[in-house]
């Protein structure tokens, strides 16, 4: 519902102009990165053609795949995001079901603990997490990375699914039980099909956050075969003169999966974004 009443054509035009301005603001840096990634090394610094696409080619992408281990980084990032999302979903689904449809002591404390763990920032966690994983001999291992990623995936998934399961009526569980489902059967046969959109939201968010994660990778990983995509891309900055072309090509490669997920599943993404602040 609008604030402006009975918009005049001029006001309507104004609304569109402002929205388009926002769109340009949002898209321009991305356009600039894509454009840079498609320029040859000679053209990257040629300012006269800086905004206009001319002599575009894919040489930077070829460079990235030939001279850097980007295929390996993508592989590590993908497997890491899939594995950590999978475990977070299992923990979240079981805990969400348990906390909302069973009665036992301490479940309210757990509900608060989930929110607290969601709010605890990485900035507080990254040093002690490194020290703990170091004691366990898990620094510079894939398992250590998975553990680190669960620190944000599990709280988010659990909280989101807990919030959703809470909205499902208890009668659903009761009738399922009376019809002869086991407690686990109620979850898999009745509740999960209903919760599928929320599970999708949780999965998208956990996957995206894992895919984008950099700080834990930077603190935990030293060997090149375990580098994630963000860690690998950050490595472009180490050299004395930056190769902006290949670097931006690698950046575009990191953006593409997120863009595809977003375009295909925008509804779930929006739902997940607003759940923290608006729900309840």
């Amino acid at each position: 519902m609008s604030i402006i009443d009975r918009r005049s054509p001029a006001q309507t035009a104004g609304v569109y102009v402002i929205l388009v301005a926002f769109c340009i603001f949002a898209a321009f840096p991305v356009y600039w990165v894509v454009l840079t990634s498609l320029k040859s090394a000679r053209d990257v610094f040629k300012t006269a053609e800086i905004l206009i696409p001319v002599r575009l080619n894919l040489s930077n992408y070829a460079t990235v795949f030939k001279q850097y281990q980007i295929a390996r980084w993508i592989e590590v990032s993908t497997i890491l995001a899939l594995v950590s999302t999978f475990f977070a979903l299992i923990v979240g689904i079981l805990a969400g079901y348990s906390l909302t449809h069973f009665r036992y002591r301490g479940r309210h404390v757990l509900a608060v603990a989930i929110i607290l763990s969601y709010i605890i920032p990485k900035g507080l966690l990254f040093i002690p997490l490194f020290l703990v994983l170091n004691q366990l001999g898990l620094v510079d291992t894939f398992l250590g990375l998975v553990f680190a990623h669960e620190t944000f995936s599990v709280p988010f998934c659990t909280w989101l699914l807990y919030g959703y399961f809470k909205t499902l009526p208890k009668e659903l569980v009761d009738s399922g039980r009376i019809d002869g489902c086991s407690p686990l059967g109620v979850l898999t046969k009745i509740l999960l099909p209903l919760a599928a959109p929320s599970v999708a939201t949780a999965a998208i968010f956990a996957f995206t956050t894992s895919w984008n994660e950099f700080l834990y990778a930077a603190t935990l990983i030293t060997s090149s075969r375990l580098k994630t995509l963000p860690l690998g891309i950050a490595g472009f900055l180490r050299a004395d003169s930056y190769n902006w072309g290949p670097m931006m090509a690698a950046a575009v490669i990191a953006i593409i999966p997120m863009l595809v997920l977003f375009v295909l599943l925008q509804r779930y993404v929006v739902q997940g974004l607003t759940i923290g602040a608006v729900k309840g």
């Binding site: 926002f22 990257v44 509900a111 703990v132 809470k166 931006m248 993404v269 929006v270 602040a277």
Partner: protein, 304 residues
């Protein structure tokens, strides 16, 4: 295995008992994860902050020594503290203004609302690390697009080295943070706006309330709670915005874009002073506790 239940029989109680046990069983993974990956590290962080700790050797207990050094001797810490406040406050203010404005205009009846909304969300889906690289390149002195435009329009003869000067660098990182973060404000505030019942506006219009009055008496009160939650979450995230700063400026020039989290990283992973670095990151805890106390009742509102 089918079971018939009558509500007043002991059988019901036994089912509930069985269910509760099963419920506890289901929550075990969470009970393992939360203390193991969050509580234990947090406690050990406090303990480490009381030590002079280097990797590979057991820490030496120094009591509050790290905190005393931090607050009395460390000049850099003072600068980092001021930077963190400037960075967080300025970023959040601009994100709120832009996000609120975008939400208001998106909430107007427009064609292609979903396209506009999705488009404006674009910055939010770019990996933060990439955002940092992106703006590092845009603000680049010789090849960056910003200086190209400045030269082209003849605004300056010699355009500035944005990321090499104290206040320019501060402004640049704030700009990048705002660009990346305002869509979150936009989308949550928009969701808040959309939950306002149209009848409220119609009734107000009938009573002769103008646009400005409707904004003040209906819109703002309705989204105030949402905005508060978004602001607090955003402050917490901005305080911990390691990725963006680390790749964009590395905290430089000198220490002018270092905030707590980058400083703690530098002290620990580059300087190997883990105890001292833990103290640096824990110093923000009282503030975090205040934020959590403000947030909890709002996030738990639908609890019994």
């Amino acid at each position: 295995m089918p079971r018939r239940v009558r509500s007043d029989t002991p059988l019901l109680r036994s089912i509930h008992f069985e269910q509760s046990t099963f419920g506890v069983f289901l929550v075990i993974p969470l009970i393992v994860v939360l203390p193991g990956l969050l509580l234990y590290p947090m406690i050990s962080s406090v303990l480490v902050s009381l030590q002079a700790k280097v990797i590979g050797s057991p820490g030496r207990y120094v009591g509050l020594g790290n905190y005393v050094e931090l607050l009395t001797k460390d000049r850099v810490f003072l600068e980092v503290f001021v930077n963190t406040v400037i960075y967080a406050v300025a970023s959040v203010v601009f994100k709120l203004i832009l996000g609120f404005a975008a939400a208001i205009f998106l909430n107007e009846r427009v064609r292609g609302q979903n396209v506009f909304r999705g488009w404006i969300l674009l910055p939010w889906i770019i990996p933060t690390l990439v955002v940092g690289l992106m703006f590092r390149w845009m603000f680049d002195q010789t090849g960056g697009v910003l200086n190209f435009l400045i030269l082209k329009m003849g605004l300056m003869k010699i355009p500035p080295a944005w990321l090499a000067e104290n206040w320019l660098a501060k402004g640049a990182v704030i700009f990048a943070n705002v660009w990346r973060g305002f869509p979150f404000f936009m989308i949550t505030i928009l969701a808040g706006l959309q939950s306002i019942s149209p009848e409220l506006y119609e009734a107000a219009a009938m009573d002769g309330a103008r646009g400005g009055q409707r904004m003040r008496f209906i819109t703002i009160p309705a989204v105030r709670s949402v905005i508060l939650v978004v602001i607090i979450l955003s402050i917490i995230w901005t305080f911990n915005d390691f990725e963006l700063l680390w790749v964009m400026t590395g905290g430089g020039p000198s220490y002018s874009t270092h905030i707590f989290v980058t400083y703690a990283y530098q002290l620990s992973f580059e300087g190997s002073r883990f105890g001292y670095a833990s103290a640096v990151s824990l110093i923000t805890t009282p503030l975090l506790v205040i934020f959590i106390l403000l947030l909890l009742p709002r996030l738990m509102r639908d609890e019994e």
